[in-house]
Symmetry: C2
DNA sequence: TTGTAGGCGTTATCAT
DNA sequence: ATGATAACGCCTACAA
């Protein structure tokens, strides 16, 4: 297959009449090598088109300079933005990233985790599809002291590092906001409640109802997969309810937008009859009319912080004091879809 | 760092009183090994918690089973969806993916290419930020016969494989459609024209104008970075034009949507005064009102086809006959933003 | 400052 | 069907 032989440090050594060790050290800018030799080596390496063989080095050093990334799905606004942030930092520090998505399949998620382990990544960045009841899947990483950083969706295991936002608080704020705008029957559209972010948002929502003197009932909760279609379905569902809500808080903007749109097309006045709020500050939230009240999710920052946290950990430079959980700032953005004044 | 020693095939061999070679062969399901031995080996490997060391194997076999992925930016609807498709196929065939983004920096793009080369990827999947005048950057890949598949934005080099859509044709169709709806001054908002997709769309647009008996003038062309902000700016620009267009074809939906929104807020009637069309079939195109006429971009399919094409090539199974360019089907979707009847 | 030599864990080529 | 052995290319004590 390969056209010509790969150049090795031995080839360089031969041409320069020095030892391979000297070449190796020169390439690594080792202190103990004279500047003259170093220069010669670099020049020759360049001339001969040498490239270091990372396998040989990895095999020797037992390090890969590669980070594993596991997410539920790659093509979502939040996830892809987080990844962009991760890539920024990783490339700055010379780390490669291997990606994988589970697409909601627990089986694929497990196989991805194993794949990452077999690829011997130096560390792992994970956003779990569902709340793992136990962290057995990651046991091998913990056992070998391979750091695992959970982002977006955190993980309760004390051995894990977490980079998250305060889902409870944000959901609480959004729901209170809706209540303050005069809503008394606030519906919550969310994802699988075994996923901690959705569970936390649900708790925040319920707490806000309680603190606002409003009551919760099961018909106010709609669990879906939060897709576009789920939004449309939710809208149609609401249209058929006899006792309609006067407020909706959806756990993501995309679903909220399509739900809102469906209702609007059926003649429902937003926000007068039903006030709306979403989550994420997705671009659609600024296109839908009325613009969607939402929560500003610091995606890019989260990616950068998570990657930095992992890399710091790998270099022994723990900046994240003793805390094993970083909570990023995020806040509600009130827009027309919920403002009734 | 590591807790306990890694298990090697030698450890397994010792425990089983056989040779390491036999263990290696058993693990690979080699024909010449008795079923009994194979079973024993597998059982013992599992019991001892063995995992193959891919570096050693890579070092030996000179293969990485890793694909490199280079894109302008990771967090866009089109790109993230393509990546999702790539991941699907890659993981099915047991390939890892390392990602990188250039963020529009030619320097970072070059450094990413080099990084991929040094990582010794088996093949490369590339969407170039700008049209490279020369393919020198990829010379090292071509020289070593490492296959490079260009997707989204193709590449003219005869040694490259391409997976693209017909940008010229789609742009032509969209523009003709606008003309048929009665537009006579159709503006084109696009990205850097040194990027081939934008150049092709521009050509398709101009050809359609000509074939519709309309004339082109420089004030009908607006080059931007196609971001949200560029859309708003474009809208404001149009508002200030004395001789306003009566149709707008933007090279991406996100930009089109924000432009449309800006005009609408200023009281411009869409599509009566200005008809609109975008490109990509991004979710925002179905949220903006009126819904945006656009071109259905087969992102997911493109990712899958590109990955499949690369992997086939690696295994010597060229399915893509002699053609080195695959053009995926894509078509215009007419929606309210351009329908004047 | 530089050289020598052994080993990282596999796979592949010979043998047996 | 299995074993012995030599690479693969690099790093790093230890020596000089």
């Amino acid at each position: 297959m390969k056209e010509d032989k790969e150049i090795t440090i031995y080839d360089i050594a031969r041409r320069l009449n020095i030892s391979a060790a000297t070449v190796s050290r020169s390439l690594k800018e080792h202190q103990s090598i004279s500047t003259a030799t170093r220069k010669k080596v670099h020049a020759m390496a360049k001339e001969m088109g040498y490239r270091t063989n990372s396998f040989a080095r990895n095999l020797r050093t037992q390090q890969t300079h590669t980070l594993g990334l596991i997410v539920p799905r790659l093509n979502s606004y939040v996830v892809s933005s987080i990844i962009a942030g991760i890539e920024n930092i990783a490339s700055e520090y010379g780390y490669n990233i291997i990606i994988s998505q589970s697409l909601g399949s627990a089986k694929k998620e497990t196989s991805n985790i194993n794949m990452m382990f077999d690829s011997r990544v130096d560390g792992l960045l994970v956003s779990l599809a569902y709340n793992a009841k136990n962290m057995d899947k990651f046991k091998m990483f913990f056992d070998k002291n391979i750091p695992v950083v959970f982002f977006d969706r955190g993980c309760e295991d004390p051995r894990s590092l977490n980079v998250v936002i305060d889902n409870y608080r944000n959901a609480y704020d959004v729901t209170r906001h809706l209540a303050e705008q005069g809503c008394s029957r606030i519906m919550h559209i969310t994802g699988d409640l075994s996923t901690n972010i959705y569970e936390e948002r649900f708790r925040g929502y319920k707490a806000a109802l309680r603190d606002s003197g409003l009551s919760f009932s099961d018909d106010l909760l709609l669990v879906s997969d939060l897709t576009e279609k789920a939004g449309v379905d939710a809208g149609n569902h609401i249209l058929q309810m006899t006792n309609k809500p006067d407020g909706v808080f959806a756990a993501n903007d995309n679903c909220a937008a399509y739900c809102l749109q469906t209702l609007k097309e059926a003649g429902v006045k937003i926000p007068q009859e039903i006030a709306f709020a979403g989550f994420n500050n997705d671009p659609v939230s600024r296109i839908i009319e009325p613009n969607l009240t939402t929560v500003n999710y610091p995606c890019h920052e989260m990616g950068e912080v998570a990657a930095k946290c992992l890399i710091d950990h790998l270099s022994g430079t723990r900046t994240v004091d003793n805390a094993n959980t970083v909570v990023l700032r995020s806040e509600i953005i009130a827009r027309a879809s919920s403002l009734r004044k």
